[in-house]
Symmetry: D2
Subunit: 262 residues, 4 copies
């Protein structure tokens, strides 16, 4: 019969065997990233930030990443769009600032499962087009079962100079997720905890430019699990759009170095 | 700021709000199911059954379901293939027999997330063709990122008679999953528990027939997260193939009535 | 070396061999169809009808079909949405009324190729959701590379009575397409001809109901090959929506019996 | 009513309007190409080469291209695998050497339609994974409706030196397709002609390496339209595998400059 080994790491299905715990990073060798951000209404945004945190700025970030050459997926690839807000955690032990992840859409299931179960990153599925690139315009769109809900557009790219690039060689991308596993057969949580997940990006090339994004709300019929998420985000006013960025580089992340915030 | 309500049920991302706990069933209004099973080597199969259970018969079941008209998904659809073995649990409180789920492949992320996080059903993703139907042959295949690993074929269908059908009106399909949520920053489990998930099928039409299935092992490069699962299952000898079944009907399941086995 | 045989039928690539010409029908064993139609502005619609025809009624039909168990595809399946108008052809030889196909969207390439090259049916690709069915609502949507451009919704279904059903047992669905193959290295046609393609549907069950459809225009950036088609159709006013129909049945079509209209 | 203009270029559906004929090239701004070739049995290969040509060498080329930033598709993308043989055409007017295209698989319909109808390139659909890149291994696989039929693998890459690269700056990739449009209502061709389609690649980076490819035959049930193509190609013996190449660059092609060979 199968017996769990407390010195192993398992993923469901666990009974086919686990792996040793190794403190190692995994590398995404080829990523293209579009970075949008805008100031919004503080109170409206705070409504979605757990009270364990303080909101550093009333700012929403929307980041698209086209990820290729992913080591832990044996060189496979996926796209993601992350929506986050800058928060600070001051606990008994930990004092950190990071991006609190409101939601991440990804177009593959495999990284969604790891993200949710291992580090509490609230990933959900959508179709996400690879970047279309035409005459200086970079654009993509997200849809759920045939219904578009987000379009992203980047243009007027101006490349970073040598020196600027040197200065931003390594960009921290630390995230905080809230892992929530429900009780079985009743309301409430079996597990509910904030998790700090350190990551960074090694920048190869970067551009400043103009960003535009357009939310389209979906009805419950169109997306029963996500309509409320999309509505919440679409309702946040875009008070002022910041400069957008496009970055090519490698991403390095280490789930084994994540920790529950205390 | 967002505050969790212990009387609510949440899914990640939790901070956009939860729902009341309601003991309700959800219905899959239109399902077509192919059911294959075969006897195998007891010791080899037991290697994948947690020692909390006893194996009732050294038998592997492989069931394909094409599910449409799913209430909780607002009428959407997906396909799945479940591999399971019949087990018995005799605990301090619970005494049940059910199908222990070795793995379920599904071709949509949404039900994979609910299944794993809410009831410990070890679902993973693959592409699964809708049923091809040609001159009395019903067949489908499963692939991961372009690599076929399982082909299913049903033929020589003989319809059930009126009386037989009457006798099997409602077929129990109770499942047991093992929910495993890993610790953050170290080996071992934060949560590790067997969960009983009651379900049944209301049969509308049924056929006996001949079943055939063919596993193709994948390399680690082709499927780093699933190659060991496919290999384990492909290695189980098919000692004797039982009669196969095709069933059209409605499936009824109730995650709120699931319970941790004790 | 490969030599063409003028008594054979070829598809590109032709050099792997052709087939005998056989006057045979092919059957789609399992289709679900939603049928919408509405009156529109005559002049606007006529702008898209070649002058070889007369427009019978200023009416646009939009039909969704979910096709399964397709014989010539070895039991495979696809979805389509056809937009057409009723026309009459009075030529030197032929005098027929049929649906002039303005466009058909299909979600598989294989039938698109046959339709275009063999019978001039102007099929193009889009993603088309299988029918979602929830509490008496039947709906689907079409999108191109992540951008939704058409949503269809059917509700308030009232089943046909026994007698009505008997009366509509076999429904003709004859189509006319315009086959156009361009010259190489210059403007104009190498081949430009109207083709009559006879088909019919054997109805098993049918419902009357309420139909709704919503076009969303796409920009050239979103769909450079189809934006003008979608715009043309979206601009046709919906003067009066007719009763919608839902039909389950089998479709029978015979490309070998198609003929160039003269 | 709609009237064709002989000075315009149309695509089906034609009645929504045509375009002016412009002798222009279109650019694929970002392509990654894997190039495999091997010697094979001359007679077996010649069986698939129309007698209008002579086979220059008994050699099969298999080329994978991952194409991004495609101008005529407004910056969209697709993957293709081309199988070809080097041929010579000596006609009354034309004397050319080029790659005779045995088949091209592409994972999008739009370029399949243009290729077939405008230049006779025999493109058909399959799923084609983007390149997986892991520890110096580059690989992909092709499948049709869930059934893998070709796997490609490139490794041991050695980059071209500065000078070598300079020498191969622009690589001609001229193709010949055979455009075949069948008669309606009978066997034989309405149109049957060889077409020369000039193209070239601007090389940015290149590597020599080791190539491997594995064909898997499909049954008629698995792929009724392509099983015979795959079988024909899989049956060609791989007598000697040549050095494989990986090339990053831009592709330039000009359908308007294509011409029927005479």
């Amino acid at each position: 019969m199968f017996r769990f080994d407390e010195n192993k790491c398992y993923k469901m299905p666990a009974h086919f065997g686990g792996n040793d715990y190794v403190v190692a990073s995994t590398r995404y060798h080829d990523t293209v990233n579009l970075s949008f951000s805008y100031s919004t209404d503080r109170a409206m945004l705070e409504a979605y930030i757990p009270e364990a945190f303080t909101l550093v700025r009333p700012e929403v970030s929307v980041g698209f990443s086209q990820c290729r050459g992913i080591d832990w997926m044996a060189g496979s690839y996926y796209n993601l769009v992350m929506v986050s807000a800058p928060v600070r955690f001051d606990g008994a032990r930990d004092h950190v600032e990071a991006s609190y992840v409101l939601v991440i859409w990804e177009n593959k299931t495999t990284p969604i499962l790891s993200g949710r179960e291992e580090t509490g990153i609230p990933k959900v599925f959508s179709d996400i087009e690879d970047l279309h690139v035409f005459e200086g315009q970079y654009f993509t769109s997200l849809s759920f079962e045939g219904n578009t809900f987000l379009a992203l557009h980047f243009s007027e790219a101006v490349p970073f100079g040598e020196q600027e690039l040197e200065a931003m060689k390594t960009v921290p991308m630390d995230m905080i997720g809230w892992r929530y596993i429900p009780k079985v057969g009743g309301p409430g949580a079996e597990l509910s905890q904030p998790i700090f997940f350190p990551q960074y990006c090694e920048v190869k090339r970067a551009w400043r430019g103009k960003g535009a994004l357009r939310w389209t709300e979906l009805s419950w019929l169109q997306s029963p699990m996500q309509a409320h998420i999309i509505k919440a985000l679409a309702d946040l006013p875009i008070l002022e759009m910041n400069e957008a960025l496009m970055i090519e580089g490698e991403a390095v992340m280490s789930a084994p170095m994540a920790r529950v915030l205390e």
